[in-house]
């Protein structure tokens, strides 16, 4: 029987929720790294026991943790205690939390500033890792999405990281600006059919695609309209909150933007709006059903000023056609006095025969549906504010 492992990052630690395929009884492990903000936890598709964690603090900076045994034990990849931190010839060894922007001449474009909130230029400053995306093929290779926006890559299991500087070096970089949560690279999608192709999204720059393994990047924002920027149809500057795809159709992308739900059928070359009959098209996460590539889920939030569900009712919305026809899913969810938010990385699906949907709230609840969203139950109710939810289906 399949096992399901839900990896929950919160403002005060990480938690692992485990169950069998029935998803009725859950074991809760944690808090791991208590007191630290766990922005993201994600397992390797190649080796489910390999889990990477982004552990951050405004006081102490960025830490990368790794488990090789499914979350029972953890370590920081890199130099073991007591060993020299430099090689015999004086070169620094890998450091798992050393995320240095690449300003080497080889990149040719060592951009140093982006747009600040007041429109002035501001230097790039590393704050934290928002998202870790393990490779589909190699457990030692992981991509990291950072604030201020950049993508890093490790090929040694997290011991050392190197920026893929072509993204930050894109000619539009000086026009990127931070969203309310900072200038974060929060979404990384790997094309399972083309190892050279990746998609990323940045608040507030937009979505980008590489077709050469991360050397060069192209903005893919045609069709997006953002009335809060001077040119609503600009090439960059859009506050994309999350992007998603189904692995069987990597050219079909879905997007939750600051406002608007969008769809692209040509790898991001053009987007069109599918907000349809949603009560509001503001929100953060968007996910695709594991077995139905046209079925997508969002959680509408009242507005960008209020950040809670409309009418105090927590409702997931499902579109079975990936278009503008949405149905509310509320069975088991609070339908009065609910004023939580669901953040962009806090929703995920499993790949059990009956697809499970999961999301975490800023109120500390993690809800699960074992029947594609028709019925929901809380796995836990009182965790710290949930930052991220990922799911591993272990066969």
């Amino acid at each position: 029987m399949n096992q399901v492992r839900v990896l929950v990052g919160t403002k005060k630690g990480g938690f692992i929720l485990s169950s069998d395929e029935k998803r009725a009884k859950w074991n809760v492990s944690g808090p791991h790294f208590g007191g630290w903000s766990i922005y993201h936890m994600k397992g390797s598709p190649v080796d489910p026991n390999r889990i990477y964690v982004s552990q951050t603090s405004d006081w102490f900076g960025q830490i990368i943790q790794r488990s090789d045994d499914g979350g029972h034990s953890w370590h920081q990849p890199g130099t073991p205690a007591g060993e020299p931190t430099t090689t015999p010839d004086g070169m620094p060894k890998g450091e798992s939390n050393n995320f240095m922007y690449d300003t080497s001449p080889e990149t040719g474009k060592p951009l140093t500033t982006h747009q600040w909130y007041d429109g002035t230029q501001h230097p790039w400053e590393f704050k934290r890792v928002w998202h870790l995306e393990p490779s589909l093929h190699d457990p030692d290779t992981v991509y990291a999405g950072a604030e201020d926006a950049a993508i890093f890559k490790t090929t040694d299991g997290g011991k050392s990281w190197k920026e893929l500087a072509g993204l930050r070096g894109h000619e539009s970089g000086s026009q990127w600006c931070p969203g309310a949560g900072g200038m974060c690279l929060h979404s990384i999608l790997l094309d399972p059919q083309n190892a050279q192709r990746m998609y990323i999204a940045i608040s507030a720059a937009g979505a980008f695609r590489t077709d050469d393994g991360g050397q060069t990047w192209k903005p893919i924002n045609r069709g997006l309209k953002s009335k809060y920027i001077p040119n609503p149809e600009a090439e960059v500057g859009h506050c994309v909150h999350n992007i998603a795809m189904h692995p069987s159709r990597p050219d079909v992308l879905f997007m939750q933007k600051h406002w608007d739900i969008m769809r692209s059928d040509d790898a991001g070359e053009m987007w069109h709006k599918i907000s349809g009959n949603l009560p509001t098209d503001f929100g953060f996460p968007i996910v695709v059903h594991a077995h139905e590539p046209e079925t997508i889920y969002v959680v509408p939030i009242k507005s960008d000023s209020e950040h809670y569900p409309p009418d105090g009712k927590l409702r997931v919305y499902r579109s079975r056609k990936g278009t503008g026809e949405w149905e509310a899913l509320s069975n088991g969810l609070p339908q009065e006095n609910c004023y939580v938010n669901i953040l962009r990385d806090a929703m995920a699906v499993d790949t059990c025969d009956e697809c499970g949907i999961y999301f975490g709230t800023t109120g500390g609840q993690v809800y699960a549906s074992a029947d594609s969203g028709d019925h929901w139950q809380p796995i836990v109710r009182d965790l710290p504010s949930v930052l991220s939810v990922e799911v591993q289906t272990i066969r």
């Binding site: 790294f33 208590g34 007191g35 630290w36 603090s57 405004d58 006081w59 102490f60 900076g61 960025q62 830490i63 920081q76 890199g78 130099t79 073991p80 205690a81 007591g82 060993e83 020299p84 931190t85 450091e95 939390n97 050393n98 240095m100």
Partner: protein, 98 residues
């Protein structure tokens, strides 16, 4: 022997309880103490000072013998009571909020 008191979260990160003790040779400066600390506990690299610039992280402060050394240059020599182990070098998380 140099005695160092770390804030709670760095103690858990370094997997130590209580004070950290370091053996050092040469001048006992702020930078030398931090170098020795990071040598023995590499998981702390980047958590007290930035990797490249070696600047103290903004929300951490350094104290020795009831004096604030947070703004002192890294090459500042610490008091004899620190180098002799009579007093600990304190790395303190700055209070914010609450």
């Amino acid at each position: 022997m140099i005695r160092i008191v770390l804030p709670y979260h760095l103690r858990t990160l370094a997997q130590v309880q209580g004070e950290v003790h370091l053996e050092m040779e040469g001048k006992v400066t702020i930078a030398a103490v931090l170098d020795a600390l990071e040598q023995q506990y590499p998981m702390l690299r980047g958590t007290i000072r930035h990797h490249q610039s070696k600047k103290r992280r903004a929300f951490l402060r350094f104290f020795a013998c009831e004096e604030d050394y947070s703004q002192q240059p890294p090459e500042t020599i610490l008091p004899e009571k620190i180098s002799s182990g009579q007093e600990p070098f304190l790395i303190v998380g700055a209070l914010a909020g609450g």
